[in-house]
């Protein structure tokens, strides 16, 4: 089985945040108000952080886009009491909104701040798409639609899914995943600098494996031994 992974080339990243926006629109993530932003109550499946080292004139700012790391050993899956977050066979760490009881233990355990709690009901009408099937249970035949999250449930935790709906759809149709004209997650597709790559880490022929073999790479917070599958190429 494939093992999906993402590679972000920090040398190419220009910090434009197109990935964050693409994620919001693809996955129907609510936009928060400035008030919620200040209170840290809005949702971000993907964030871009800026890390500064040193002081002017010897200063260096590093822009790091951060989706969920889809850890090989995810602490969030360990602590979830309700089996609401789990790892699929292809390595994607999923979140089942129907099972989640909203205890927020996983937010506390995740070392990358990838998880968000949904604090309120969806207010905007444009997001309300009752015509699309609601949840992410893959056994549900009517499931595949462009947006897997037509309506939000308040009181549960949400996170990045590597756009699993695109991947599953592509697998079903037999479309190539990860190649330049194949299917990729929304953030990879949106990146104007072509800094992001997606593909099968187990397949030695894939673009991601080729990059890992030829370039130096690192993962965030390796000391936590979570073995992220979102991997960075340094500047």
């Amino acid at each position: 089985m494939a093992k999906w992974g993402m590679i972000i080339d920090l040398d190419k990243c220009v910090g434009c945040q197109a990935c964050s926006l693409a994620c919001k629109s693809e996955n129907n993530v609510p936009h928060g108000s400035p008030h919620e932003w200040k209170r840290h109550q809005d949702l971000y499946w993907h964030k871009v952080i800026a890390v500064t080292e040193g002081e002017y004139p010897t200063v260096n700012t590093q822009i790091i886009p951060m989706p969920c790391m889809h850890c090989e050993h995810p602490p969030c899956v360990n602590v979830c009491p309700a089996k609401a977050t789990y790892q699929r066979g292809d390595g994607i760490v999923m979140q089942n909104f129907r099972r989640c009881i909203g205890c927020r233990y996983c937010i506390i355990a995740c070392p990358y701040g990838s998880r968000n709690f949904n604090f309120k009901d969806q207010a905007d009408e444009e997001y309300d798409r009752p015509d699309l099937p609601p949840d992410l249970d893959l056994s549900y035949v009517g499931h595949i639609g462009p947006w897997p999250y037509p309506r939000r449930t308040r009181g549960v935790v949400e996170k990045c899914t590597y756009c699993f709906h695109r991947i599953d759809q592509a697998l079903e149709k037999g479309v190539d995943i990860g190649s330049p004209d194949g299917v990729v997650p929304a953030c990879v597709e949106a990146c104007p600098a072509e800094a992001r790559f997606f593909g099968d880490l187990d397949d030695p022929e894939s673009e991601v494996s080729r990059l890992l073999a030829t370039r130096n790479s690192f993962k965030l917070r390796e000391e936590m031994s979570t073995h992220p599958k979102t991997i960075y190429l340094p500047r």
């Binding site: 840290h40 602490p75 602590v79 089996k83 009881i101 355990a109 949904n118 009181g155």
Partner: protein, 410 residues
Amino acid sequence: MQLSFTPIKGTSRKYKVLVAVLAVLALTGIVAYMVSYLEGLRLWGINNSVSWGQLITVDIFFIGLSAGSLVVSSLVYVFGQERYKPIGRMAVFMGLLLMIGAMVCVLTDLGRPEKMWRLFMYGYLSNMKSMFAVNGIFYAGYIGLLVAYLAAALANSKLTKVIAPVAVLWAILVHMGTGAIFGFIETRGIMYSPLKPVEFISAAFASGLALVMLLSYVTLKLGKRPISKDMYVSLGRMLIVLIIVLVVLVVTDKLTHFYPPARESVLFLTQGPWSWIFWGMQVTLGYVIPLIILCHPKWGKTVKGIMIACLICVIGIFGERMGIIFPGLSQPLQYYPGEIEGVWGVRGGFPIMPAETLMTVGIFSLLGLMYVLGLKFLQLLPTAGSEGTADEGSEATAEQKALAAEGGTT
């Protein structure tokens, strides 16, 4: 020695006023909860960095007090120390009430409380690797045991001798499990420690003993029941030992995490913006002042001095619980070495929000209400020479003090 127990009459005006006030506060809490359930938890102070708030703090505080009360009762029912018998039943009753309060806290804290049954599926639909789910077993069993224990103690049944040791051991499990919820999380430096479970028990014993001493004294006094000074003095001496054990554990823990190069979390706890919780509440109120009073040659021998020490100690241990949640969660996560700019790098804030605070007050009042009613309808208090009508005015004061401490949290 055969002690007999009788309930209070509960007909005085003050008693009725107290019941009414507590009931109104509890109702307010319920309304606040209903509103926040309908509106979503954005009404609370919690956010995506400090994602556990007031209710979880109160929850672990209550669980600790509950385990501690049980240990006091074990002096009577396990070790057969007859001189502590007057407060034995009260201790069991408090243990049960506090545990119920703790459960109310956890379950109302969930984002989707209607799915709480998932916590209690014991491996079938729950993940037994999660300390939360493991604690589901502990908590459910504990409440069952406590009900049996209280019933046996009230009936003066022989079974008490069997149930008591099991209940006390189970209480220790409950508490270690609760400590493990925090101690096993490597992501949060302030929580992560193999000593956490032990430290939790030790804090539980100290605070539970202090609370039982305080509440039983106030109840006996206002119920005009006989008070044995010797009993409190010897319990006071026990409290000294328990606090010292706790201090040793906390110092070991913090020193261990202070020693290696990666010491940010201890520095954040002791010198960061929340350091007033650690130094002001946990150390000063929890350990130093009670120890000074209790060890003082004069104050430590008077019931009044001991009671003040108990009150301060209970508030201090509440600070210790706050010191796990608030600094522990608001310490920014270091995704990448360097200074993270903007909102992702700042420490999490925790505003006081009315709905959450009203719920906290409501839960405290609910417990007070159940306690006061229990005094009237259950045979908890030793019989007095002259049956006086009781008013529990200052019992509420203790509650209010604890609440004031809570208010300072945020």
